[in-house]
């Protein structure tokens, strides 16, 4: 009886407009804010890795101060990437079935493998090769918990002779080269999870993986700039402006590409005007007015585009402090804009009925596993992990560390060029 009353109440709620399939009349969308956080975090991983690989693969020397920070950022976020999914599952205890008995035609099953590959074969291995020499040296000088950690991470390999180090550098570069397509694959698959759903005209789209990859690169690069500037502020040191300017240039061009492809997507949708375009237009213009038009398009794309574009043109005429202010606020806006983009894709795709005759609304809950506090916690967690990483692996009081002062040249022997 009480369930009956609940059903009637749900029916009477103004959250449904027009005709919605009976099974779509649920209190909140099936994939709620947790699934918004999931592609966001994964995208940050992919983007931060691309930033790091600019140093290793493309030998952009000016970016060396942020190489390790970018890799550690990628790792901190990657460790949290599957948590939102896990919390969302009806049966989280069965999650390993995705990898143990995968169904190969499912994008979600393949994501499990790509994730595992990326974490274990790319990121951890690259970090290990990069840090090996430092681990060996720190393990000799550090005591206590730190000493134990560094000794454990050497994995027992203590050979830091010249040839061994040059092999490390070579391996690091090879893994980086393999890592770029892996990072793209990682996030492309997330896009494909949505792009493969042909039942949903908002999602089912060949451009979806491309859009996800590009916005991932943008958000990850913005996160690197953000983290670097924050770290410099926290350590009361001046950021390396050459590195910062270059990062911002890359970020700007990535943003232009991303905005162009997303614009192309909308242009195509509007021009071809297939079945359901009226529904999509309504969702975009009214249901997602604040997150799509204001959040994603204006604040997240247009404003940073104008700010960073201006900086590209008149960089030399603007003082360093003002430049840093513009960079910091632009990257913060971009990070919010990409989060809004994830919201628009995930939630936007569930604000209309697949009957294309009605609309749903979504009011976020506070508590519960679909509540926003859990998502917020999952967004904060990687930053806490990153803080721990910085404390242990980018600490200023560690000897022979190339990042003692951001911008300092790496110590001799750490790269083959200097060996």
């Amino acid at each position: 009886m009480s369930a009956n009353i609940l059903t009637n109440v749900v029916d009477a709620l103004p959250q449904f407009d027009g005709y919605v399939y009976p099974n779509e009349r649920t209190l909140h969308p099936l994939w709620s804010v947790l699934i918004v956080v999931y592609p966001y975090i994964t995208g940050l991983v992919a983007g931060a890795f691309i930033m790091a690989s600019l140093v290793r693969v493309f030998k952009v020397k000016a970016l060396e101060p942020i190489y390790r920070l970018a890799l550690l950022t990628a790792l901190a976020f990657l460790l949290c990437a599957t948590l939102p999914l896990l919390f969302h599952l009806g049966h989280p205890e069965r999650c390993f079935e995705i990898m143990m008995t995968p169904h190969f035609s499912s994008p979600m099953a393949m994501f499990g493998f790509v994730y595992a590959w990326y974490l274990m074969a790319v990121l951890l291995l690259e970090l290990w090769f990069d840090y090996r020499r430092d681990f060996v040296e720190w393990s000799k000088t550090q005591t206590g918990l730190r000493g134990i950690i560094y000794r454990a991470f050497t994995l027992g390999v203590t050979d830091i002779s010249g040839p061994a180090l040059s092999l490390d550098a070579k391996m690091g570069r090879i893994i980086s080269i393999v890592g770029i397509p892996s990072a793209i694959l990682l996030h492309g698959y997330v896009g494909f999870i949505f792009g493969s759903i042909k039942a949903n005209p908002w999602w089912g789209n060949a451009l979806m993986p491309v859009i996800f990859i590009l916005s991932a690169v943008v958000s990850g690069m913005a996160l690197c700039v953000f983290a670097y500037m924050f770290l410099c502020w926290a350590r009361r040191i001046t950021a390396d402006m050459r590195c910062l300017d270059l990062m911002i240039s890359f970020l700007f061009y990535a943003l232009v590409l991303d905005a162009a492809i997303e614009g192309l997507d909308w242009l195509h949708r509007l021009y071809s005007a297939e079945e359901g375009i009226d529904v999509l237009k309504y969702v975009a213009a009214s249901k997602l007015f604040y997150t799509l038009l204001i959040g994603q398009a204006c604040l997240g794309t247009l404003v940073p585009f104008l700010l960073l574009g201006t900086m590209q043109l008149i960089r030399k005429k603007v003082g360093e402090l003002n430049r840093r202010r513009v960079y910091f606020s632009s990257t913060a806006l971009i990070l919010i804009g990409v989060l809004a983009m994830r919201w628009n894709v995930v939630i936007g795709g569930q604000l209309f009925s697949k009957s294309l005759r009605g609309f749903m609304s979504y009011k976020m809950e506070f508590a519960g596993h679909e509540g926003w506090w859990l998502s917020l916690a999952l967004l904060i967690l990687p930053f806490l992990i990153l803080t721990a990483f910085i404390k242990y692996f980018l600490a200023t009081d560690l000897p022979t560390l190339e990042n003692v002062v951001p911008g300092a040249p790496p110590p001799a022997g750490s790269r083959p060029a200097q060996a």
Binding site: P22, V157, R357
Partner: protein, 271 residues
Amino acid sequence: MSENITRRAVLKNLAAIAGGILAMPAARTCKAGVQNVLASSNAPAGYDPFQHKWLMAFDVDRCIGCGLCVEACCEENAVPEGHWRTWIERYVIKKPEAGSGKTRGETVVDSPDGGKEGFPRLLIPKEEILKSFFVPKMCNLCEHSPCTQVCPVGATFDAPDGAVLVDKSYCIGCGFCIQACPYGCRFLNPETHTADKCSLCYHRITRGLKPACVEICPSQARIFGDLKNPAPGLENDPLQQFIAKNKVEELKPSLGTGPRLAYAGLDEVVR
């Protein structure tokens, strides 16, 4: 710490561990394959799914929207409140406004409580209505079912006899299949936390009974049959006869899911 641990040795060990982990899915897949062959569904022993091909057809003009099929389905399958394995939609197409140059006006669709209690009196005045009809909906038994395609663990599968089933002891409850179904036929069962849908009353049809909705329909709007075992002489089989005598169509054919449900008397506004 011994100096003779080389990177080569460490990498070898790591590779061995990774190899072991990678080999496990293959082993588990083999095991699952064997289990699949030997597993029992809720079909009785001796039921061979390869000897049947079940299909449902709808005579839209016969449906009176009484809701008995919905009620019977919910009773038979203990469908949780607020969710539906089958439901009825009422379509009301209004007359076009005078001088609008259109053949029809606005289409209003409703399905209060899935049509379980029948339908309330229409609020639209009679003289404004061009035509109105009921459409029963359920799993479309797709040939290329998108729900099966996207399931990450293979918990939902196409049975050889045409039913699309969910193994609730295996489903991880990710909801991917629910998103992938274009017809809104699936839901997340709030009691089992797994995907749920019409099973064609698999426990009944494998014992020679008809699905509950077909059994109870007072107007014979639902026609159910076995394409591999028609009644002797094709002309005696109700399903074959129905297909032969009517122009039938499917829902959302453009999506390429190959829905097998056959509807006769469908209007273009039905989605």
